[in-house]
């Protein structure tokens, strides 16, 4: 039998696996339903729950042990449970309080007092392949519980995490609905892929794939930050691991939770751009400065003109969300099921910027016997999105709105113009009245009337279906030994549908043939993990051992796409693939992805003595398909230790430091998030040429790049020292210091062009260091009827590139802007991708200043400058201004990130204020197109240099710009990126129980939420939070919306 399976291993396993996976999920679903049949009954018991101060506690969960029966206390602490019988046990539990069990006697009116749990460190945290009591954890793990996430109006889980934990920097990639975010755990770990590993209920999902997850299905998020915690995920853990656990059902009555919100979004900020007459005056000034004519003779007559931002922004973008969840269970089975859907319009050109999602989840666990337990999780989401291009200088509504002149009207209503060229003889777009949308004669390139622009793509969309699930069997043959086998899978389908009509947006944005396209792709990945863990207490020695083994396969993917050209139709409505077209009217293709495989063995030992002396050791061995035979496998060890000093006998009982744990660890993790076959020299096709009378295309093949057979794992070693303390009986504090050293960073080596390679080879080229400190503080106190809690975190990270290869000083960075070339540079001794350009030293106010700005030999450094030009700093002191005078001007990555959450509860009201922000970064403000002379300006241009003494910071205007005031990348383009944002403010009201009990509900809460209400920043673009591969590059970033929402929550 073993032989048989072995031969199948490489052939049919994937297919079989899907079947096994689906079968087990379907099976568990039915088992779950059967488990929900309830049992007998006798009488009704009432009571109240209060804290030690006599204050009623609302929302306390009361469960009749080993049954599905239960209730929650209402706002006044009252509860009623029917159908109980004498001798059954009631279990009272409430967050922050010690659970209590009461055996039902004859009394039917219970007054229960719950004691506040001062040992809140006794929570359990997920640590990867298991859980651990928080008090004995020796690594740096931050966690966020569902309570902190519920009723947050976020579409994606990264946003929910933003500002909640220390050591994690998160910036939205765009304000477009459904957009992903850039997530960095403890700085930039490597040059390539810095996305953390997301593990959802044991399923490894890449950062792009977590969009399927519904935020309110999440029970907890744990961020593993130090190597001592991360090493259990070995070769893929270097950039951090984020573990997400979805909600499971609890024993007790079925609870139903419905949450809905609806609201409107609007831009939080609009740029201040020149109006038409201001624009006319500035254009005149620029033209005259270069000896040109006055362009607009009567600027006043131009009036205000068109406000293109008005055209693109929607102040009433609608968003709404509905979610319903159902959970419960008995002593055999528990389940959690949810269904939700949400719709969101973007604030920029909502017609083509929309997102909607529908999701379903079913999680269940079943006890088959005392020994066997099975369970599953399954989430499905369907997403549909329309989006505009964002953060690009090359067009799109945002860039167009900023750069288009305010003189061109949105719609041409003058019949003389509308009947003239180019409107009369080109396929221009028109409004509902048949008037053409205005075409600018001043600003061209990719800048086009946004209303016409979107007509190209209205109705085009992308879609995806994601199914992510996991099924496990757990065997407990003897006490303390748990053997678990789990299989996980993720199956996605995605695609897009689009039609582009013939159009004429302006002279160079013309499409002469309509086209209809469709793309469909499928991806599958699975992993199988087997673990055995054994825990044992012998006296005060408490130890547990985990051994495990896993196989992971990703990117079993393929896709097809096709485009039909020149369909015999005139409108989008007619577009269909059912039209017959000839072969030369089609372009189609198909592709197959390269599988990524990892096999692993791992083990963890945890030990503590009297919960006082703690130790954890981890070792993992991973093999990855992305490496050559010389270095196929890597071993990743870690160890960490802790000491709970406050448990020592000598620790005096005191009111200042109630508990104190000191911990530290060291470990090594890796990354294989590189391209496939980096270790091989491949010969690729497509290097074609055409020969012959008839023009036959021949396919050419050639090697891509020189090979590097020694390519190996990059390794990140991290040391972490920290402590956790509880102070003054009400303050929790966690502090960590870390030093993270990445060696042999895998990077496409930017080799000289004379090598003749197509593409770049990979190499273990560079080293980098991150050093940082993190502080998390929590405070929670009850003042009579006022409940107050505040939690905050602040993180500091310092990044430094320490090595780039022998003799290699720097490599060009990952960001550029038009003809400026590189904006950032990676150089030894500097932070990764630091801004690199010219330094300005004020503006020459008069000719004397120019002639007296001399070098050592007395000749002027900028002889060709004129008053009003920038004085460039001669950084290298060679007496002339050249490329070598560029220098480091700051980093796009913040030094500090912070978040602060404040909660108040007073009687029926609750208030949440959540703020977050960053400090210490620069943003490249590149909103204006350099190459479009007539592009509009922000009103900051009005304070330009116009004569001696006018300004020392904004140079004179000139189209020719011989001094490169605008065309050179200098600190002129950099702005402070510091901001403090009131991200969420929520005010809720819980209805009194008298009212809601009439419909049998347990809780009904209404709330209003404001999102992004206020952002304090000096940044002059739309939004200082700019994610992306190199963060902080603004070329027309889609800003995050300000939203107001009304929400409603009902629990049964």
């Amino acid at each position: 039998m073993v032989k048989l399976i072995l031969t199948e291993c490489s052939l049919n396993f994937n297919k079989n696996l899907i079947q096994i996976f689906m079968k087990s999920i379907i099976l568990s679903f039915f088992v779950g339903l059967m488990g929900l049949i309830a049992t007998a009954q006798t009488y009704e018991i009432k009571g109240t729950v209060a804290d030690s101060g006599g204050n009623p506690l609302p929302g306390v969960s009361i469960v009749v042990k080993n049954t599905a029966k239960g209730a929650s206390s209402d706002f006044d602490g009252n509860f009623v449970i029917s159908n109980v019988s004498k001798g059954e046990t009631l279990l009272f539990s409430y967050i922050g309080f010690v659970p209590k069990e009461i055996i039902i006697s004859n009394a039917n009116n219970l007054n229960v007092v719950l004691i506040e749990d001062t040992q809140s460190l006794d929570e359990v945290v997920v640590i990867g392949y298991g859980t651990q009591k928080k008090s004995v954890v020796t690594g740096a793990i931050s966690s966020v519980k569902s309570d902190d996430l519920e009723s947050l109006p976020v579409e994606r889980v990264e946003q929910a995490l933003q500002g909640r934990v220390s050591g994690v920097f998160i910036a939205a990639d765009a304000g477009q609905p459904g957009s992903s975010s850039t997530v960095r755990v403890r700085g930039i770990t490597t040059f390539g892929n810095n996305n953390p590993l997301w593990v959802i209920d044991g399923v490894i999902v890449d950062s792009g794939g977590i969009g399927y997850l519904n935020q309110s299905d999440i029970a907890s998020i744990e961020v593993l930050k130090d190597a001592a915690s991360l090493a259990i995920y070995g070769a893929r853990a270097a950039a951090g691991v984020i573990l997400i656990t979805t909600k499971k059902g609890k024993q007790g009555k079925i609870s139903v939770n419905y949450t809905a919100f609806t609201g409107v979004s609007a831009p939080a900020k609009e740029l201040s751009l020149l109006n038409a007459s201001e624009y006319g005056a500035i254009m005149n000034e620029k033209s005259v400065a270069d000896g040109g004519p006055i362009i607009f003779s009567d600027v006043a007559s131009l009036g205000v003109g068109t406000d293109w931002q008005n055209v693109i922004f929607n102040d009433r973008a609608i968003r709404s969300s509905h979610e319903i969840s159902l959970s419960g269970g008995n002593d055999v089975s528990t389940f959690f099921a949810s269904f939700g859907f949400s719709d969101q319009e973007g604030i920029v050109m909502s017609e083509v910027s929309q997102f909607n999602k529908k999701n379903i989840r079913l999680n269940s666990t079943h006890k088959i016997s005392d020994i066997f337990k099975v369970g599953q999780t399954l989430g499905y989401a369907h997403k549909k999105s329309m989006g505009i291009g964002t953060n690009s200088e090359f067009g799109g509504p945002l860039s167009s709105a900023i750069n288009l002149d305010p003189i061109t009207p949105v719609v041409i209503t003058d019949p003389v113009i509308a009947n003239g060229v180019p409107y009369s003889n080109n396929p221009v777009f028109r409004d509902e009245n048949g008037n053409p949308y205005g075409i600018s004669s001043l600003v061209g390139q990719e800048m086009t009337n946004p209303l016409a622009d979107i007509q190209r793509s209205i109705g085009n969309y992308g879609w995806s279906d994601d199914l992510v699930g996991n099924a496990f069997i757990e065997v407990t043959p003897i006490e303390g030994l748990v053997v678990k086998s789990s299989i996980s899978g993720k199956l996605s389908y995605w695609g897009d549908e689009g039609f582009t009509p013939e159009y004429y947006l302006q002279a160079t944005s013309v499409n002469t043939q309509n086209r209809l396209s469709r793309g469909r792709s499928k991806g599958f990945g699975w992993n199988l993990e087997n673990t055995a863990s054994y825990s044992k207490e012998i006296g005060l020695h408490d130890f547990s051992v985990l051994v495990g083994q896993g196989v992971y396969v990703d990117n079993i993917s393929s896709g097809v796409y096709i485009t039909y050209f020149d369909l015999p139709i005139t409108s989008r409505e007619q577009a269909s693939f059912n039209f017959p077209v000839t072969d030369d009217q089609k372009i189609g293709g198909t592709w197959t992805g390269t599988e990524h495989k990892v096999t692993s063995l791992f083990s963890r030992l945890t030990y503590n003595y009297d919960e006082k002396y703690l130790f954890t050791g981890i070792i993992r061995r991973d093999g990855s398909s992305r490496f050559g035979t010389n270095n196929k496998f890597g071993v990743f060890p870690s160890f960490s230790a802790g000491w709970i000093a406050s448990k020592e006998d000598f620790w005096p009982e005191n009111d200042i430091v109630n508990t104190l744990k000191i911990r530290g660890g060291y470990g090594i993790t890796g990354s294989d998030a590189i391209g496939d076959f980096g270790y091989l020299a491949l010969v690729s096709g497509g290097r074609n040429y055409t020969f012959g009378e008839d023009g036959t295309i021949y396919t050419g093949y050639s090697p891509n790049a020189p090979d590097n057979p020694d390519l190996k794992w990059e390794e990140t070693a991290q040391t972490n020292i920290g402590f956790e303390a509880r102070l003054f009986s009400s303050v929790n504090m966690v502090f960590d210091y870390y030093k993270k050293e990445t060696k042999g960073i895998l990077q496409p080596v930017d080799i000289p062009g004379y090598v003749g390679a197509s593409g770049s080879p990979l190499g273990n080229v560079a080293d980098m260091e991150n050093t940082g400190v993190e502080l998390e503080l929590g405070y929670k106190k009850r003042f009579g009827e006022l409940n107050f809690s505040v939690s905050g975190n602040v993180s500091y990270n310092q990044n430094e590139v320490t090595f780039l290869g022998d003799g290699k000083e720097f490599i060009s960075g990952g960001a550029g802007f038009q003809s400026m070339g590189e904006l950032t540079r990676v150089q030894v001794g500097e932070s990764y991708n630091s801004f690199y350009g010219y330094k300005t030293a004020g503006i020459f106010q008069n000719v004397n200043e120019i002639s007296s700005y001399v070098n050592a030999s007395g000749s002027p450094i900028q002889p060709d400058a004129v008053p009003g030009d920038f004085r460039w700093e001669d950084v290298n002191g060679d007496g002339t201004i050249t490329d070598d005078d560029r220098t480091f001007l700051g980093t796009p990555l913040p030094k500090y990130t912070f978040g602060l959450t404040v909660n108040f509860d007073y009687k029926a009201f609750d208030l949440l204020v959540f703020t977050q922000g960053v400090v210490g970064n620069k943003i490249f403000q590149g909103l204006r197109r350099l190459d479009v002379a007539n592009a509009n300006h922000q009103t900051s241009v009005l304070s330009r240099w116009t004569g001696e003494g006018t300004t020392n910071s904004y140079p004179r205007l000139s189209n020719d710009d011989p001094n490169g005031n605008f065309s050179k990348f200098s600190d002129f383009y950099l702005e402070d990126g510091d901001f403090l944002r009131f991200k969420t403010v929520q005010l809720g009201y819980t209805l009194p129980s008298e009212i809601i009990s009439k419909i049998g509900a347990q809780k009904m809460r209404v709330y209003v939420t404001g999102e992004n209400l206020l952002t304090l920043t000096n940044y002059t673009g739309f939004d200082p939070e700019i994610g992306g591969n190199v963060v902080g590059i603004d070329k027309g970033y889609y800003p995050q919306a300000r939203s107001f929402m009304l929400g409603f929550n009902l629990q049964f």
Binding site: D584, Q585, Y754, G756
Partner: protein, 503 residues
């Protein structure tokens, strides 16, 4: 404990564990759709594919946004850069107004030729061991060497101080490369061509057209000699190519009777074509692969076409031009020289007059003169329809070298005097019905300007004859600096290369 009770789960786990420790082979993934270099170049077909890849950069003459024709025209005294605005194609603009620097110079003028050299070197390295027809192998080797020479020639005449490669570089040495002396580079080019010429076919079969023939290699060698002012050697090579002026040469070359026929798109590989760059509209290029190795269209057509062209009078004889990007507007000086020349109509599209007459309309681009390069101007009739993007799929071939070019080069190599030089000049002129004029270096240079206008030769002619500074100083040309390009900035990063003087 009762072991039977747990037999199944333990067995199941044991089996699963066995499967997934399957061995290291499990981690091997094969590169679908690609080959390993260690197992390539093992048969005739693979050798041919390698050769095709080496030919790929011949297209640099007129393919891609950064092509030789548009670039070299922009730097000459016959054209401006043009385009949409002052920074549309910043590299082309700054070459045209001589503000070119190492950052703005499009790096592809360097890297594309080196890619061609790398691929040629792979062939030269691998071919000896490929089991294949020996005759073909000899020819492939000759073509590879000719290509390596052609690419090196373009590099050395554009950049002068360039590294020389006769084999693929060992990655370990890649940062230790230094520039070779121009003399050494030229010596290698000459050696490559001289080795190639005997083994190249004199006549190509119809499906091979576009590959390097004996005549093409000799024409290249003639140009190589002439660039070094080895005039008698150059003249000898050109004479092999040209034969008796006006007659059919040994390789079948002959001036076309009608100059206009040179620019008929279907008249590919005519008898005047010595080295032709092949384009097709069948690669169906789209913006996603616009300038990739597999996009085979002619971009000069799109680049020189007028912006927003509208034919207002369909009854005139003006063809409906397809819109382009208005690069390389023709300077009035060239217009004046050509306006009474029989070659005018084929060379210059005078939209200025036509639009003054109300027959057409167009959107003036940057540096608009109203005169466009008609040799490549795209027409609606020739617009690519169907799949792919219209702008990227023009199918007109371009002449890297044509017979009128080699006639005049030979005359130049002969020092601009003597009966043969006179005959060569006369042949070029009489073909278009112009009378004989006394031959001289100036007459030859002037004839080249008119005959070859807009084909990318003028700038090289000026530099080779030491007239660039005189003709281009009003543009900003600085003698002793602008005769060559700056070494691209990226090539200097961490390497041993030295920037060209005065950049």
């Amino acid at each position: 404990m009762n072991i039977n009770k747990y037999k199944f789960p333990i067995l199941a786990i044991a089996i699963l564990a066995t499967i997934f420790s399957c061995s290291e082979d499990y981690l091997e993934v094969s590169p679908d759709g690609q080959f390993l270099s260690s197992s390539y170049y093992t048969n005739q077909d693979e050798a041919f594919s390698g050769l095709v890849a080496a030919y790929d950069f011949m297209r640099k003459n007129s393919g891609g946004f950064e092509n030789m024709v548009t670039m070299m025209n922009a730097g000459s005294d016959d054209h401006y850069a043009g385009g949409g605005n002052a920074s549309d194609g910043a590299g082309i603009q700054s070459f045209s107004n001589y503000t070119i620097n190492s950052i703005e110079l499009p790096g592809s003028f360097w890297t594309d030729f080196y890619r061609g050299i790398f691929r040629s070197n792979m062939m030269i390295l691998k071919l000896p061991d490929v089991p294949m027809d020996e005759g073909l192998k000899t020819r492939y080797m000759a073509e590879s060497k000719a290509l390596r020479a052609y690419y090196h020639f373009n590099l050395v005449r554009l950049f002068k101080n360039v590294p020389l490669f006769t084999e693929p570089i060992d990655p370990a040495d890649m940062y230790n490369v230094v520039q070779a002396s121009p003399e050494d580079v030229y010596a290698q080019i000459e050696a490559d061509l001289l080795e190639a010429i005997p083994n190249l076919p004199g006549v190509l079969s119809s499906e091979e057209l576009g590959r390097i023939s004996k005549g093409a290699a000799q024409a290249i060698l003639g140009k190589v000699y002439l660039a070094q002012h080895k005039n008698s050697l150059a003249a000898a090579q050109f004479a092999e190519v040209n034969g008796t002026p006006g007659s059919t040469s040994q390789y079948g070359y002959k001036l076309l009777d009608s100059f206009d026929d040179l620019w008929m798109i279907d008249n590919k590989f005519n008898t005047e074509s010595v080295l032709e760059v092949v384009h097709t509209n069948e690669s169906l290029a789209g913006w996603g692969n616009a300038y990739n190795d597999d996009a085979e269209g002619n971009m000069v057509s799109t680049m020189v076409g007028p912006r927003g062209f509208i034919d207002l009078d369909v009854n005139d004889n003006v063809p409906a031009y397809s819109s382009g990007w208005s690069f390389n507007p023709v300077l009035p000086e060239l217009y004046d020289l050509l306006k009474d020349d029989p070659r005018f109509e084929a060379t210059i599209l005078d939209l200025k007059t036509l639009s003054d007459e109300g027959k057409v309309q167009y959107s003036p681009g940057y540096q608009d003169t109203g005169y466009f390069l008609n040799k490549f101007a795209p027409t609606v009739a020739e617009e690519h329809t169907g799949a792919g993007d219209m702008w990227l799929n023009h199918r007109q071939n371009s002449y890297a070298i044509r017979l009128a070019d080699t006639y005049l080069l030979e005359a130049e190599a002969l020092g601009g005097n003597g009966a043969r030089a006179q005959a060569l000049l006369d042949a070029v002129r009489s073909r278009v019905g112009l009378p004989s004029i006394p031959v001289s270096m100036d007459a030859i240079l002037e004839e080249r300007r008119l005959e070859l206008a807009g084909e990318g030769h003028r700038w090289f002619d000026l530099v080779r004859n030491g007239k660039a500074a005189a003709k281009l100083s009003d543009r900003g040309f600085v003698a002793g600096k602008h005769e060559i390009f700056p070494i691209p900035y990226k090539e200097l990063e961490n390497t041993q290369l030295v920037q060209n003087p005065n950049y």
